[in-house]
């Protein structure tokens, strides 16, 4: 397993190594310092003891001024190679005896100096009083070099250094071994996480290598992965079923639409051909009824003539009905020709066209400010004709009749209304108003085929608009055509559907 730079493994090893090395260095330094101090102390103690013994032994030599004995006593220092020089001074501070015996007197200091011990450059000097029963007899001056101390310190430092090197090496091995217990599981976990992140494979599980906090972490991670895996699977399943459902629905809608279109076309073709084919025999019926009236009219009694007239009227009425049906059918199928249409001019034209129906009628027209719209002129004219003729028709009993035409501009549509004070209708039946063959009044009361408003609705719908009506029986009605302001686009869309 290769460890990237700055990995936990490296950090752990570094931390442990730094700690152990610092400890070893500090311990070593403390040991060396302690040893230096203690060996200096012990050297001082040893030398002081030596000086004390020598001083105690020298009392009589000083008391009885026996320099030979004094020299002999001092020569005992030969056994100690570190003793460099020793000197005995008498009570007056005069040099009495010197060691080594052959050393020049100038080697010893002129006066012994202050009693005690002191370290001079690479030497330890002990100055010890020579006393018998508390009586000062002289002074001993003892000088020892620190060679032993230096050698000892070097050896000790070397040992400490070797021990430190060994400890650091052992610490390194231990650190490498111990870190695997921490860095190993972390790495396993990290690998698992990376695998999950890269492959979106939630079936991966981190290996749980220990039952410590890292083990807990790994278990928690695995638990989380399990949860994610479950949710992922559920999500995928529901997504798939949703997509399936969607495509099923789409297919079904398409199939239905196709079926509908087919049956619609069939129905329209059927009704067109039926209407068309019905006209020929109807023309015969009307024509022959007319011929019969002209040929045998004078010879027939009133009753027969009335019967013939009824036949002729009915045939004519049926012809109108068939024309209307054909027109309705055409409105559904014909191509739309979009153009700018002036509603003001169109209303004027339609009123012109209805002049025959207006004779003998007293009608008050209230025509508002009418704008231009975009749409199929022929279709819009047909719709407008329908609405105006309805208004004229249902106000037949009013004098004066009042018909108002206006436009209400709203957010995204232009609403054209035609209001009258005619027969009106029951709002409960407003849904039926725009249906084919739906009539709220009897043919005896108000003539009509029941196709007009259905045609209006079809035309407006093909323009992407909507129609509705408001009214009250005996008080009049209002019809509304709402055309979208961006009419053309929606109209196209409507046509395509």
């Amino acid at each position: 397993m290769s460890a990237p730079r700055g990995s936990i493994r490296q950090k752990l090893v570094t931390a442990m190594m730094l700690t152990s090395t610092t400890v070893v260095i500090l311990t070593g330094a403390a040991l060396i310092i302690y040893d230096t101090i203690s060996s200096r102390q012990s050297l001082t103690r040893r030398l002081t003891t030596q000086a004390e013994i020598l001083a105690a032994n020298s009392t009589a030599a000083l008391a009885f001024e026996n320099t030979d004995d004094a020299r002999q006593l001092l020569s005992g220092l030969k056994s100690d190679p570190s003793a460099v020089m020793a000197a005995l001074y008498d009570r007056r501070g005069q040099l009495f005896a010197l060691y080594p015996a052959d050393a020049p007197a100038s080697m010893a200091p002129a006066a012994p100096g202050k009693v005690g011990s002191r370290f001079e450059s690479q030497t330890l000097v002990i100055i010890e009083p020579v006393e018998e029963d508390g009586r000062m007899l002289g002074t001993l001056y003892l000088k020892s070099d620190l060679r032993a101390l230096t050698v000892r310190r070097r050896v000790f430092a070397l040992v400490v250094l070797l021990a430190a090197a060994g400890s650091v090496a052992v610490a390194f091995v231990l650190a490498n071994w111990l870190q695997s217990g921490i860095a190993g599981p972390v790495r396993l976990l990290a690998n698992a996480a990376e695998q999950v992140a890269q492959g979106r494979d939630y079936s991966v599980r981190a290996k749980v290598a220990s039952d410590d906090e890292l083990g807990l972490l790994s278990n928690a991670f695995n638990g989380m992965l399990g949860e994610i895996q479950q949710r992922d699977a559920a999500l995928r399943a529901s997504e798939a079923s949703l997509r399936q459902l969607n495509s099923d629905l789409e297919r079904r809608v398409q199939a239905r639409t196709a079926e509908l279109q087919v049956s619609n076309r069939e129905l329209e073709a059927f009704s067109y051909s039926v209407s068309h084919d019905l006209r020929a025999p109807l023309r015969h019926v009307d024509g022959f009824a007319d011929l019969l009236t002209r040929h045998a009219g004078p010879s027939l009694d009133d009753k027969s003539r009335r019967y013939l007239a009824t036949i002729s009227d009915s045939a004519k009425s049926m012809g109108v009905l068939i024309d209307d049906l054909l027109s309705f059918s055409r409105m559904g199928r014909s191509e739309m020709q979009h153009a700018h249409v002036s509603l003001r001019e169109m209303v004027a034209e339609v009123r012109q066209g209805m002049s025959s129906d207006l004779t003998g009628r007293e009608i008050v027209w209230e025509i508002g400010d009418l704008p231009d719209v975009v749409g199929d002129a022929a279709m819009l004219r047909a719709a407008l004709t329908n609405l105006l003729s309805n208004a004229v028709k249902y106000t037949r009993g009013r004098s004066p009749a009042r018909i108002s035409i206006g436009v209400r501009e709203e957010n995204d549509e232009i609403v054209l209304y035609v209001r009258d004070n005619g027969a009106g209708f029951d709002m409960a039946y407003q849904d039926k108003l725009f249906g084919v063959f739906q009539r709220l009044h009897s043919a005896e009361e108000f003539e009509g085929t029941g196709i007009g408003l259905a045609n209006v609705r079809r035309i407006v719908q093909r323009h992407g608009g909507r129609v509705w009506a408001e009214g009250k029986v005996g008080e009049g009605a209002a019809f509304f055509i709402a055309l979208p302001r961006a009419g053309s686009a929606q109209a196209q869309h409507e046509e395509a559907a």
């Binding site: 032994n57 009392t59 009589a60 030599a61 008391a63 009885f64 001024e65 026996n66 004995d69 018998e132 029963d133 009586r135």
Partner: protein
Amino acid sequence: MPLLMRRLAMVLAATTLSFTPAIAATSAPAVTQEYDLKAAFLFNFAQFVEWPAQAFASPTAPIVIGVLGEDPFGSGLDEIVEGETVHEHPLVIRRYHSIAQIDSCQILFISLSESARLDQVLKALGHRSVLTVGEARDFTDRSGMIGFDLVQRRVRLRINLVAATDAGLTISSKLLRQAQIVRTSRGSN
């Protein structure tokens, strides 16, 4: 006193501690120096010799340094001892002219003037714990305990250890180191 002799002695004394008893008798400064040294030794003996407890009337009884016969020290001995104590014993100097005068005495310097009567003196002392010190050449041979000697112009000591031991005295080994030990058969006196 011949002038020549005196001059010679002065020269000698000025250079080293070189003298002989003959010269000492005639050369005052050198002799004084020698006896100052001997007086110091007498005082030092008090530190290196142990007396039995019964040698003192009390723990603070004085150590008496007696001088029997002609006193060669002059005031030197008194000056050395002045105000000194050893083991709580103050030091006292007494001068005796006859053996009969000696009562409580720890160190007895027997002057050369008593040489002729030395045996009687020592006999009279018997086994009393008195450290006898003398100058005669045969002092220790005649059962004196410590004898002063001049060897190579230095004062040297001779010790008759048997005599001292017989008197119940303990001489410190350090003192013994400084001295020549003289062996004499017991009971020769």
